[in-house]
């Protein structure tokens, strides 16, 4: 695999700076009394032609910092008086809107996270690209059209002539992001701000977009400010790294320094708590370990894998699911989402289910839970076919097979207290003799997942994402399930929180001998959690093997492509060139 940048490390101090941010502070006015300091004293620079990465978890102020550069802050935000944003020698702070507008899209352009919502659905992508050409470069209609086709070709969308006439919804997610990039580079900007440009994309598409951005940057010699939460990407693409937390810069330096000799404990924690493809410790380190000052010593590796003697708790045979799609007034067409998937889940073990969006991995989980009606196949739970049971016959099995959903913000009823959320399943399944016993049980579960007892009377909106996911896990635990389906359960969480929840899931498995079906698009997380792994693509299981086996020697070409696309962070390949690391 080729490194994404040719000049890998910090030309930072020597090259002239195109952008200089100094003493930036941003304050949000919530209401008459409340003000929130979102960014405090942030200073960094971007050398022309280089890539600077702003890294941080949600709420770190990285996006707000970037938006302040282009003057796209919401109206209730104010800049601190010390703020200086120098671009090409000009201070952008206090620049009149008209001049900022002339700058935006021409000298500085932005690529946003969600290509679908950033493109206007009622205009063709050709029109949208041509708009900035005509606006900023004053091109005529014909010249703009020709240039647009060139640009669409340059960002690697096939058949550019026709694609210029396509509407956004006719393009795939990756192509939409390519179109956004074409718009951003249309006027040859000196600085490209990419705000989590690949977060919404699948890992193979992410790889293509990153390669495209790196290539364009070299060809056009533009500087790039890359905002991301993923240190894996940073290690591949950036030259200078700025690590932010809670609105402040924790550490900045060349990519080599950050990865090889991080000074700040927060940076070290961020680097350590992400699961890796090449290691599997007993426990993931968490941020508290580092901030407490006692960096955890190397932990023993956890052995994984199954043997033939392990008892099977759930056997799925030829599971099929197709969704009806209406055609015309009366016609119905069936679109297959899952095709002939078979596997065995063993007691106390984890089966990982990986695949990209649309691969049918979530549908498998929902169909097993009977939240979708299966179109065919069997799911034998201790010999009883769950898919053939009536709703009443299913009820005793409901408590034994449970699911934790992806979005912790959506999976808890906002109008229920945490107590009610935990008590409801126990009432339904007559667990516990009376209400007092149930309350005691619920309190126990809260404690077990690491939440304080007073959470009982609170509402979900008072908790953070990670805490909410703990509540969702506690809700499942009240029923003492045998099988827990984790449907992208940690995907929406920040890496530090993700590590905590993964550790919790691991502890619970050790304690209760739970069997997990762990569904995720994140190959590193799946490898960390799973004994066996199924790789899914277009509704089919293309490969099923022991976790170590599949990552060491993938057999199916799709699996190989998937594994090659995972950002690896800082690797030896890039370390060979560039300046020497700072002294230890």
């Amino acid at each position: 695999m080729q490194p994404l940048t040719a000049t890998p490390t910090g030309s930072q101090p020597t090259a002239p700076r195109i952008l200089d941010v100094d003493g930036l502070g941003i304050e949000f006015r919530i209401d008459r009394q409340t003000r929130v300091q979102a960014v405090r004293d942030v200073s960094f620079g971007v050398a022309s032609g280089s890539t600077v990465a702003l890294v941080g978890e949600s709420g770190s102020g990285k996006s707000v910092t970037a938006m302040s550069i282009v003057g796209l802050l919401p109206p209730n935000a104010t800049l601190a008086s010390t703020s200086r944003i120098k671009f090409g020698g000009r201070d952008l702070v206090g620049l009149p809107q008209a001049q900022l507008r002339a700058l935006r899209g021409k000298d500085i352009s932005v690529v946003f996270q969600e290509p679908m919502s950033s493109l206007n659905p009622v205009f063709t992508i050709g029109d949208q690209i041509a708009e900035s050409l005509r606006l900023h470069l004053g091109m005529g209609a014909r010249a703009a059209r020709d240039r647009t086709v060139e640009l669409i070709d340059e960002v690697g969308i096939p058949r550019p002539q026709q694609r210029a006439l396509s509407y956004p919804h006719e393009l795939s997610g990756g192509q939409q992001q390519r179109a956004m990039i074409a718009m951003a580079i249309a006027c040859e900007p000196q600085l490209l701000i990419a705000d989590e440009p690949t977060t919404a994309l699948d890992v193979t598409i992410q790889r293509q977009i990153l390669e495209l951005l790196a290539g364009l940057q070299q060809r056009h010699g533009m500087a790039m400010l890359f905002i991301t939460h993923d240190l894996g990407i940073v290690g591949e693409i950036a030259e200078h790294v700025v690590v932010m937390q809670g609105g402040c810069i924790r550490e900045q330096g060349s990519v080599r320094d950050i990865f090889e000799r991080p000074i700040d404990p927060y940076t070290r924690a961020l680097l350590a708590c992400r699961p890796r493809l090449d290691r599997r410790p007993q426990h993931l380190p968490v941020i508290e370990d580092f901030l407490g000052g006692n960096a955890p010593a190397a932990v023993a590796e956890r052995p994984r894998g199954v043997v033939a003697q392990d008892p099977v708790i759930l056997e799925v045979r030829d599971l099929c699911k197709s969704f009806p799609v209406r055609k015309g007034l009366f016609g119905t067409e069936y679109v297959p989402a899952v095709r002939d998937v078979s596997f065995r889940l063993r007691k106390g073990k984890t089966l990982g289910l990986v695949g990209e969006s649309g691969s049918g991995k979530t549908t498998v989980g929902l169909t097993l839970m009977r939240l979708h009606r299966a179109s065919g196949g069997q799911a034998l739970f201790e010999g009883c076919d769950l898919l053939a049971l009536s709703e009443a016959e299913m009820k005793p099995y409901r408590r034994r097979i449970q699911i934790v959903f992806q979005n912790p913000y959506a999976s808890l009823n906002p109008r229920f207290t945490v107590g009610n959320i935990l008590l409801e399943p126990m009432r339904l399944h007559s667990i516990g003799a009376d209400n007092d016993e149930r309350i005691a049980l619920a309190q126990q579960m809260l404690q077990r997942v690491g939440l304080p007892a007073e959470s009982f009377d609170r509402y979900p909106h008072e908790f953070s994402g990670g805490q909410r996911q703990r509540i969702a896990i506690a809700r499942c635990l009240t029923m003492r399930p045998d099988v827990l389906i984790c449907d992208e359960s940690v995907s929406a969480l920040d890496v530090s929180v993700q590590a905590q929840v993964l550790n919790l899931l691991q502890d619970l498995q050790d304690e209760y001998r739970l069997s997990y079906i762990f569904i995720s698009h994140d190959l590193a997380v799946v490898r960390y959690m799973s004994d066996e792994v199924i790789v899914m693509s277009e509704g089919r299981a293309v490969e099923l093997a022991d976790a170590d086996q599949i990552y060491r020697a993938p057999e199916h070409p799709y699996t190989r492509r998937l594994l090659e696309s995972v950002p690896r962070g800082w690797t030896g390949e890039r370390a060979g060139t560039g300046p020497a690391p700072r002294p230890a």
């Binding site: 209401d31 929902l366 839970m369 939240l371 009820k395 409901r398 408590r399 449970q402 699911i403 959903f405 992806q406 979005n407 913000y409 959506a410 999976s411 808890l412 009823n413 906002p414 109008r415 207290t417 107590g419 409801e424 399943p425 339904l428 399944h429 005691a440 309190q443 007892a453 007073e454 009982f456 009377d457 609170r458 509402y459 979900p460 909106h461 008072e462 969702a472 809700r475 029923m479």
Partner: protein
């Protein structure tokens, strides 16, 4: 002291249970938070106070505490408002100026007139009447109508019908719309198809025509007008509630409820309804306003409450003739009361929508 060591674990256990018991402080629910936000909105609080005042006065009138004697003819016809004591009142002057037949007819026909024996009695009576006429007031706080009713009391009494109609009809429409919307949105498929067809057919009939046909079939009265408005007004609520249910049925928390085995009915009304309740509440208050106006229009058209009752609508209908002769106070009293109440509730509904915004999660 053999009991000592045994007592200790019991004590420890009870201490543990005490620690387990959640503290008394209940954290604010979404409703409490919404109320706190609403409290901070001065316009909303003023609107709430005005609406509460109207409803309090209306209830007092219903209980007979105020305006019970609104139909007593206590003033001269079209008595002027107190703030315009010098307004010219030709009507009163004319009725006062009509000469009373104090004597018998000019030609004495008493020998052939069969009514002659009664004249004396009638003369006495009319003399008594004249005395009453004389004691009629020429000004009232907000003037009088054609028959000399106090417009202020009439407005208060009229609020009874208007607010009752608005409130009950809005309740009916909200109930109907929410129920159908919930069914359609939650079940989708066939149920949704059938209800959508029903909705489309229903809304394709011109609204006024629908109301007229209802009014023609049913007898005139308060219940009729409530039924008309309630049964024709559910469509907007139905659409919005249906959309909410479509959205929420696919949410993960509803899926999660299904996964733990919650029944459909409970998912519809225990899980989703509280999350859609802000829509229902805001729609209710908007329909309240709309139905107050609708009652006025229906009564104005003569399809509303019977003439024996008074409502803001009948008052406005009467004002039609009065305006020609320059008597504007009845129109103003009914119009301003309605406008103030309607504006207050509209503003309140607006503020409620902001306060209940579920986006805060």
């Amino acid at each position: 002291m053999t009991t000592g060591p045994q007592a200790t674990p019991v004590g420890a256990a009870s201490a543990a249970t005490v620690a387990m018991v959640p503290p008394a402080r209940r954290s604010p629910g979404l409703w409490a938070l919404a109320w706190a936000r609403l409290r901070r909105d001065r316009v909303a609080m003023l609107s709430l106070a005005i609406a509460a005042l109207f409803i309090a006065v209306m209830l007092a009138s219903r209980l007979g505490l105020v305006a019970a004697n609104w139909d007593e003819e206590i003033a001269v016809s079209y008595a002027s408002p107190a703030f315009l004591p010098d307004a010219e009142n030709l009507e009163a002057a004319r009725s006062a100026g009509i000469p009373r037949p104090d004597a018998g007819p000019p030609v004495d026909i008493s020998d052939i007139d069969p009514l002659a024996p009664h004249y004396g009695e009638w003369a006495e009576r009319s003399a008594a009447l004249e005395q009453v006429e004389g004691s009629r007031r020429t000004t009232l706080p907000f003037g009088a109508d054609k028959w000399g009713h106090d417009v202020l009391l009439k407005t208060i009494k009229g609020s009874e019908v208007s607010i009752t109609v608005g409130l009950v009809a809005a309740l009916l429409a909200t109930l109907f719309g929410t129920l159908l919307g919930a069914l359609a949105g939650y079940w989708g498929g066939r149920v949704d198809d059938v209800l959508e067809w029903f909705y489309n057919v229903f809304t394709s009939i011109p609204y006024i025509l629908l109301i007229l046909s209802f009014a023609a079939v049913l007898s005139q009265g308060l219940v009729t007008i409530i039924l008309i408005l309630g049964l024709t007004g559910w469509t907007g609520i139905y659409r919005l509630v249906r959309a909410e249910y479509v959205k929420h049925s696919a949410r993960e928390y509803v899926r999660a409820a299904q996964a733990i085995g919650v029944t459909d009915l409970s998912r519809m009304f225990a899980h989703i309804l509280p999350n859609a309740s802000h829509v229902v509440l805001v729609q209710f208050s908007q329909h309240f306003v709309q139905f107050i106006k609708a009652e006025v229009i229906l009564s104005f058209l003569g399809l509303g409450v019977p003439v024996t009752m008074v409502s803001w609508g009948t008052m406005l209908a009467e004002a039609q003739e009065e305006l020609i002769i320059g008597k504007w106070w009845q129109l103003t009293a009914a119009g301003v009361s309605m406008a103030v109440l309607v504006t207050a509730i509209s503003l309140l509904a607006d503020a409620m929508r902001d306060a209940l915004d579920p986006k805060i999660r």
